[in-house]
Structure formats: structure tokens, C-alpha cells
Symmetry: C2
Subunit: 383 residues, 2 copies
């Protein structure tokens, strides 16, 4: 059910002919109300795709009735012609639904630098409206997939209300939203300001801490739509907790399906002087290719962890740091501790615990290993 | 002849038994004078190996008589015991040469987090002194190799004086010196202040612009020794030019032998508002795994270049940027230009030209592609 689990939403996922493969490539989610409140967060990449430029205008008033998402092309670095296709897509949705185009968000994902065919998008948008169903969430989840091997969905229940979500993303996973498209729906009664606050709180500790390959996308967007159809207004803290749970579930599904990955790595940094320090340290390790290649080879090469930490500005003394890998403390106070042979990195899940002994703050960054398959998939993406 | 080409230098390279393979693993370079002036630059990684901690003290007075370098172990994160091995190695060299240990630089390279055997180092140091020769430069170049497939050497001649150099480094190539050990010698008559100024000027535009895999080492050191044996004092600009030429040659040799690489990529950024901007943009592209994997697949995926530029703080408008790959302008003003099919990326040398149209500054960053062999070599390094 996913995004159509909360009351008040319809969705569709169709093959509009954007992908040469003939696979599903166009998703539509419509908020039937009674509310039409929404919030969204966008990529922090300064090179932003045309649908991002469009959607940033649409979200300004916090009113959104529909969101249309295409795979098969990012519509980025495509200039005025590309922007026109985005605009035309929104107009087609609006015309078929009898609403204003200014209430229609647009998302795109795929290869950067290729033009999309406006005729195909317009016809697809009209077909998607005709295919809307209150059980269309799964179809929508499939239609936004690119190199994803499986759809990512979530439903989290509250007291008389619920949150549903779909996500796509398998490569270019990095902050500024872990390069992905996410749609979250809820039938809770919340205005756009409350939604915005909750969405920023939830993404800050979930999607923004997923850093699969250090590459930030031009098309990231996470959208939260509220229909108010449950008639229930949850406590803010309760809603944030449920939304965070939904976002964490989707983030971990993205990690588990990252292109070519053979390990899911959680880098937990504790004893940091600040949360920012903990995030910086975790991210520096997550982006170290030598460390990531070592994990691929089941090699507990903790020296590469410390070498990565040394590139940060975080407060720490190299000769006070402890490092554990899958429960074995291999480095204590910056010196060898347990023999590295005791570490078992054969499971897919890898836990690296870094104790900085510089304070009380902590953060966990999720990443993947660097594998032959990652290289292969990304060397052949556009061909 | 390499580092023994300039008059006044002797060198040796021997198998001291540090490497289990039995390959050469200990190099020694001795300055016979009449001058004993020196300068050195070190890794900017905050996690610094014991030989770095030692050598920073030695270089303070600008007087260096010898430098000993071992492969087979980085002696990093090895605590007081590791520092004692470094100290003992310097003392052994000093004792055999009849000089003070405070005039002996020490460098180490290899796996982080393993202790070196002090007895082996001490015996090796004494044996290296016995093996000194004014034709020992090639042996020294071989003894510092780790995963290098070939020694890196250079000789640049001046008017009555010359510069020689050796370098090692094949992985962990990134700024803060491109993770490597380099020894440069000259028989020019220059004091340590002049050497320091020249060395910083030369490394800034050579080794500091080599960024093979974004990973910064804990053991980087570039050392310049002057014997004054030629009796000639070159013009400062002339010496800097020759030293820069020597450093550029060694940097490009390092790039050409980078672990597992199949392409040598020069990322030339022009039209930048400042040189710092140009370097930041070049480096962001050089560190983008998706771009690097695409080059491995001979795929001119220029969207990944622009997505990487978008993560920087450099002054630019995404819709003014031009990108050319191996001579074909595939992106003009942030939009598709020539078809990507016209780009031939099959040669090992790849030239990416980025025109920001934001000013007059420029810089070139050298990097490599991300290949199956890179992943393989670095997943198996410590095993």
C-alpha cells in the first residue's frame, strides 16, 4: 500500500515510453484532501535540475495537490528546453486533474544532460491521471526505479493516522539528501509549517547521514504530503518520531540496494566534541576509497580509518582514539590492540565504532563498500 | 644516477629484511657537502606517523646530513614503541657515519598500525651505510617502492649544477603531498631558507595537484638536500623552475603508476575567479567516483563533471559552464553541445577542460580512473 496506505491519497505508476526498455517510468501521487499541505527538502548541489528549479517555486506556499516523478532522464543541464518540458508536464497533470499547475511538484531521475521528449511526458501525465487508484502505491514505487533492484516502501502507523513512503536511489548516494527521490504521505492533520519542521528534523538524522559513494546528485527531493483525512492531529514529537522511523527505514533500504555494494557499513562515532564533529569524522571514513575497498576484501584495515579521521577538522588526539570493527577493538589509544585476525567482516553488516574521547556527542553515518560491481555498474551507466 | 647525479651525494638501497618478500626495503641518502642545507614539507594529515614526528624536529635548523627511508611498514599509530624504533634507526645511521642523530631524517611507508622490528632496522641502517656509493641512486629508488611497479627518478640540469630526485607512491595519492616519499638532491649552493622557499613553490603546483584517489597519507614527506658541491649559486627563479620541472616529472610518474589505473586524467580548470576556486573545482571532479568509473568505461559522462562542480563553493553559474573532453566540447553554457559519441576516451591520457567563465585563474589537477584493479589491489593490500 505504501503511500496510498494513509487515507486521502491516490497513486499510479505506468510505462510512458521514456525508458527504452519499456519498463515503468512515470509515477503520480495525488492528494485528495481535505488538506493539501506539503513540505519538501531539496539537494544542496548548486547544479540543480529543471524539476528542482520548478518544485522550489511550487512548494513556496506549502500547497501541493500532486507530484509527478519520472525515471529515464534527469532533465538536468538541459537549459530552457528542459525547463519547458518540466513546465509542460506539470500543466498536463493539472489539466487532467482540474487543478493549477502551480500546485504540481515534478521530479526527474536518470542520466544528466539528455533532453526529455515533451510529447512523451505530456501523454504520459494524462495516462497516469487516468490510472490513479487508491491502491497505486506499489506501482508508483516501481515506476521511479532506475538502477534500483527493488522498490523501497514503508508504512508507519500512529494513533488513528499513518505515514506511507516510497523511495528510489541506488547510486550517487550522498548528502544533500543521499541523491534520491522520496515521497511521503500522511493522513494526519498538520499544516505545512509543522510538516516542514518535522521533515527537516527527520531527514537530518536519516537521509542526510546516508553517504554511499560520496557523490551528490542534482535531482534529490524528499516530499511530504498531508491529506488530513484521518481527522487526527498528532503530538509534534510523536509525529516526528514516526516520520523519522519511516525515513530511517527508507534510508536503510537505499543502503541495502546501493549499486554493486557487498557490505552495509554503519560508522558510529562517539565521544565527539560536537555532533558536527561526529558527522564530519563519520563522513570522512565513509568517503575513503581505501577503507571502502578494504571492507570489500573483508580486511579490517583500521589504519585507513585513522588516516581518514586525520583529514578532518574535528577535535581529537590521534593517540587517544579507539577503533572497533564488528565488536573487536583493534586500536586502543592510537596503537594496535586486539589482532586484526579476530575481526570477522564476512557478514554484509559491518559496524565500525570510533571513540574519539573528546566529548559526549555522537552520530552514525551509513555507507557501503567499494566493489568491482560498483565500478562496473557506474562505468556502463550511460551506455 | 638520479639523486646521485648532483655532486656531493652518496646513496644505497638494500634488502634489510623488513619486507617478508625479501625485496629491497631500506634506502639511505647521504650529503657529503660541503653544505648540509635542507628543506622538507610534510603531510597535512593530522594523524602523523612516527618518522614524520621525528623528521619535523630534525628539519627545524635546516641542517640535514642523511635521510633513511624504509618500505614495508608505515610506523604509524604505533605509539612510543614505534617512535623508539624511528629514533633508534636515526641513531644507527648517525653512529655509522660519525654524525649526530639530530641531522638524520627518517621516512617510512607501508601498512599503518604494525610495529617495525627495531633490531632489523638498526642492522639495516648499518648495512646501508656500508653500501653507500656515488652511483647508488637507482638502488635507493627501488628500495622505497611499495606497490609501485617501477622506480620513479628524475635528473634536471642547470648551468653548472643539477637536481636529482626519486619518488615512491602508487596508492593513497592525494594532497597534503599526494601520499608519497620524495627525495630531491642538488649540488647548487643554496641555504636552507632558499631551499624551503623553492620547495614550497614547486610542490604547490605539482605534488599538491596530484589527487589519484582522494586519500591522504599519514607518512608523506618531500625532502630537498643541497650539497653545494657545484660551487654555483643559481638565480632563484631559475632554480625554482628546474625544481618545479623535476617535481612535475616525478608527480606524473606517480600518476602513471597509480594502483590499478587505466587512464591518466588531467582536469584543467580555466576561467576561474581565483586559483583556489580552480583547484577546488578540479579536485571535486578528481574525487568523484562516478566520474572516475565512467572514464574507466570510456564513457564521456559530462553530467557527472557538472554534478561534481555543483558541490563546490567556487564562483560559477551552472548555466555558463563549458566542458570539453579530449578536445570535444560536449557541454556549452550548461547544455548539451557536441554529441558524446564524438569523444574518444580509449587513449590512456584523458584531458577534461572546464571553462567556468568566472574570471582569469586556472589550475590543473591530475588524477586517475576508478577501476576493477584499483578495488582489487586495495582490498588485498594488507593480506
Amino acid at each position: 500500500m505504501t503511500i496510498t496506505a494513509p487515507a486521502g491519497f491516490e497513486a499510479a505508476g505506468i510505462a510512458a515510453g521514456i525508458k527504452q526498455s519499456g519498463n515503468a517510468d512515470l509515477a503520480l501521487v495525488v492528494n485528495r484532501g481535505p488538506l493539501d499541505a506539503a513540505a519538501a527538502v531539496f539537494t544542496s548541489n548548486r547544479a540543480q535540475a529543471n524539476p528542482i528549479l520548478w518544485s522550489k517555486q511550487v512548494i513556496r506556499d506549502g500547497v501541493v495537490s500532486a507530484i509527478i516523478l519520472n525515471s529515464g532522464g534527469a532533465n538536468c543541464f538541459t537549459g530552457p528546453q528542459g525547463f519547458q518540458v518540466t513546465h509542460r508536464t506539470a500543466e498536463a497533470v493539472a489539466g487532467a486533474l482540474g487543478i493549477g499547475a502551480g500546485d504540481v511538484l515534478v521530479c526527474s531521475t536518470g542520466l544528466i544532460g539528455d533532453q526529455l521528449d515533451g510529447d512523451v511526458l505530456e501523454a504520459g501525465a494524462i495516462a497516469a491521471v487516468a490510472a490513479l487508484s487508491d491502491e497505486g502505491g506499489e506501482d508508483a514505487a516501481r515506476a521511479i526505479m532506475t538502477t534500483d533492484t527493488k522498490p523501497k516502501t514503508v508504512v508507519v502507523g500512529g494513533q488513528g493516522w499513518s505515514i506511507g513512503g516510497i523511495a528510489k536511489g541506488a547510486g550517487m548516494l550522498a548528502p544533500g539528501l543521499a541523491t534520491m527521490l522520496v515521497v511521503l504521505t500522511t493522513d494526519a492533520v498538520l499544516d505545512s509549517a509543522a510538516l516542514d519542521e518535522a521533515l527537516r528534523a527527520a531527514t537530518r538524522v536519516t537521509f542526510d547521514r546516508l553517504d554511499s559513494d560520496g557523490c551528490m546528485s542534482t535531482n534529490d527531493q524528499v516530499t511530504l504530503l498531508a491529506s488530513g483525512a484521518s481527522g487526527v492531529t498528532p503530538e509534534p514529537a510523536e509525529f516526528v518520531a514516526a516520520l523519522t522511523e519511516a525515513c530511517r527505514s527508507l534510508a536503510l533500504q537505499l543502503q541495502a540496494d546501493a549499486e554493486g555494494a557487498s557490505h552495509d557499513i554503519a560508522i558510529e562515532v562517539v565521544g565527539a566534541a560536537s555532533e558536527d564533529d561526529a558527522v564530519e569524522v563519520g563522513r570522512s571514513v565513509a568517503r575513503n576509497n581505501l577503507f571502502k575497498a578494504a571492507v570489500f576484501g573483508n580486511d579490517p584495515n583500521w589504519g585507513r580509518v585513522l588516516a581518514a579521521i586525520g583529514t578532518t577538522t574535528a577535535a581529537f588526539d590521534p593517540y587517544e582514539v579507539d577503533v572497533s570493527m564488528n565488536g573487536v577493538r583493534v586500536c586502543h589509544a592510537g596503537q594496535p590492540d586486539r589482532p586484526r585476525e579476530e575481526v570477522d567482516l564476512t557478514p554484509r553488516a559491518v559496524h565500525v565504532l570510533i571513540e574519539l574521547h573528546a566529548g559526549d556527542a555522537a552520530a552514525t553515518i551509513w555507507t557501503n563498500d567499494l566493489t568491482h560491481d560498483y565500478v562496473h555498474e557506474n562505468s556502463a551507466y550511460s551506455s
